[in-house]
């Protein structure tokens, strides 16, 4: 059974991420303990809250996370967790991220209500193992004010339309990330989490 660590960095609801992943049959730890993280087969970087707080609370673990990725182990970033993987974010000034995916995190355009809250569809740009069993135009649950802008557009797996077209799933080798919350997206979300765990088993 693969061992997956959900990184616990401060406030927010980690119960539902945990519950969603537990349903896949994986062994789940919610932790910020470096030893436990080092020993896990995969990492989930959840995300609720502000970029500045999260990146500060993650500071002591950032080398460990980068090493995990270099070793080829899977990592899944969710919502703010996706944004933390990028080079830099414009949320609350200009802050450096983990730089595992090159690119910026920028604000949604101001011609739409911010935050985007609710169910929106994904357009599949390219086939990916994360999407096995998920139909084009399926609905997922989004809650966010900022969006990713990757330098290399080949990392884009799906896009979503809200004021602008933005990447809603990005993937680069063993790095996977969703701007929506799979753990809050009913059956479609559970399929994505299941596919991620399958990647860990491979």
């Amino acid at each position: 059974m693969p061992k997956i660590s959900i990184i616990n960095y401060g406030v927010g609801n980690l119960r539902s991420v945990r519950r969603g992943l537990e349903r896949t049959g994986a062994e789940i730890l919610v932790t910020h303990n470096p030893k436990e993280i080092r020993e896990s087969d995969a990492i989930v970087l959840p995300g609720v809250g502000a970029f500045s707080t999260a990146i500060r609370d993650l500071a002591s673990l950032s080398d460990l996370l980068k090493q995990h990725v270099e070793e080829g182990k899977p990592i899944l970033g969710i919502c703010l967790g996706l944004q933390l993987l990028f080079t830099q974010s414009f949320e609350g000034g200009l802050l450096e991220g983990l730089d595992l995916i090159k690119g910026d995190i920028v604000k949604l355009p101001d011609n739409v209500k911010i935050p985007q809250i609710g169910w929106n569809t994904i357009d599949i740009v390219k086939h990916h193992s994360l999407l096995e069993g998920v139909k084009d135009n399926s609905y997922f649950y989004f809650v966010h004010s900022y969006i990713p802008k990757p330098q290399d557009t080949t990392v884009i797996v799906t896009t979503t339309e809200y004021g602008t077209k933005f990447p809603s799933i990005v993937a680069k080798q063993n790095i996977f990330a969703t701007q929506f919350h799979p753990e809050k997206s009913s059956n479609n979300g559970l399929i994505i989490l299941n596919n991620f765990v399958k990647n860990v088993r491979r």
Binding site: V11, V48, T53, W119, F142
Partner: protein, 269 residues
């Protein structure tokens, strides 16, 4: 395209779902955990769980029920009723809620929303406003008066479960909460609540146009057409309802199919 949301609301007292008619006359409607499971299967987009007596009787919200609900559902879930402090918010979120609604405490403690947003982020802070019409003959200098089919009125904010009038103009209050960093507004019309004769569309529209926030309209749903109207005329982003779902008058699936056929963007399963 972002879909309009259909949100069943659970008014909970002593661990049971109830729905009052204009906030009085509470009737037992069932087990919130079982209802939550059924509603996710039927296609509910979110769930809202309000401990309606907590604020009045100064009781803590029913965190145990929240944990049980969080264990069975995989759609977003909001908890409110008696949220008064940062630690109340933290407890609700760590019990499995995705968002909290703040109502009376936002009025009584002007810093609470700002502080909560700083710690937890806008996305989980929903400000709930209970508003009641105050009919007037003429325009007023310090209130936003709107000409409605039933006459000219402004809307007054009430707190403590609709028991205490505050003198605050609901539209102005919504703008203040928008500026304070709230992520969403849950807007309940006290005039329409429990009547099942339609939402207060002029109220909902006025606040939707005055702010840049997603608006969850509440109070008055009796038919799928009422929901259609508040999402179009009322410019709401989401419609919350209780009685019509809890009493199985219309299933969520039936309401969503109706809205979809009328051209509203809706998540169908």
């Amino acid at each position: 395209m972002l879909a309009k949301r259909i949100i069943p609301c659970f008014d909970v007292k002593d661990g049971k779902v109830v729905k009052g008619i204009q906030f009085i006359n509470l009737k037992i409607e069932g087990d919130p955990v079982k209802l939550a499971e059924v509603y996710e299967k039927q296609g509910a987009d979110e769930l809202v769980f309000l401990d309606i007596t907590a604020s009045h009787e100064k009781r803590d919200i029913l965190l145990e029920t929240v944990k049980r609900i969080a264990h069975v559902v995989s759609i977003p879930f909001t908890v409110g009723g008696g949220i008064r402090s940062i630690s109340d918010i933290k407890n609700a979120l760590s019990s499995g809620a995705d968002k909290v609604t703040i109502n009376s405490a936002a009025v009584n403690n002007s810093n609470l929303v700002k502080e909560a947003v700083k710690i937890f982020g806008s996305q989980c802070i929903v400000v709930a406003i209970d508003a009641k019409r105050a009919y007037v003959e003429n325009d007023s200098n310090n209130k936003i008066v709107v000409d409605t089919p039933k006459g000219k009125c402004w809307w007054e904010v009430y707190i403590e479960g609709g028991r205490i009038p505050t003198g605050i103009d609901a539209i102005k209050w919504a703008i203040t909460m928008n500026e304070g960093g709230a992520g969403e507004l849950l807007l309940t019309s006290m005039d329409c609540d429990g009547m099942q004769e339609g939402y207060d569309n002029p109220l909902t529209r006025s606040i939707s146009e005055a702010t840049n926030l997603p608006i969850i309209a509440s109070g008055g749903a009796g038919t799928p057409e009422d929901i259609y109207k508040v999402l179009t005329e009322g410019k709401a982003d989401a419609a919350l309802a209780a009685s019509i779902f809890h009493r199985s008058i219309y299933s969520i699936a039936k309401v969503k199919n109706y809205l979809s056929q009328k051209g509203i963007p809706i998540r169908l399963q």
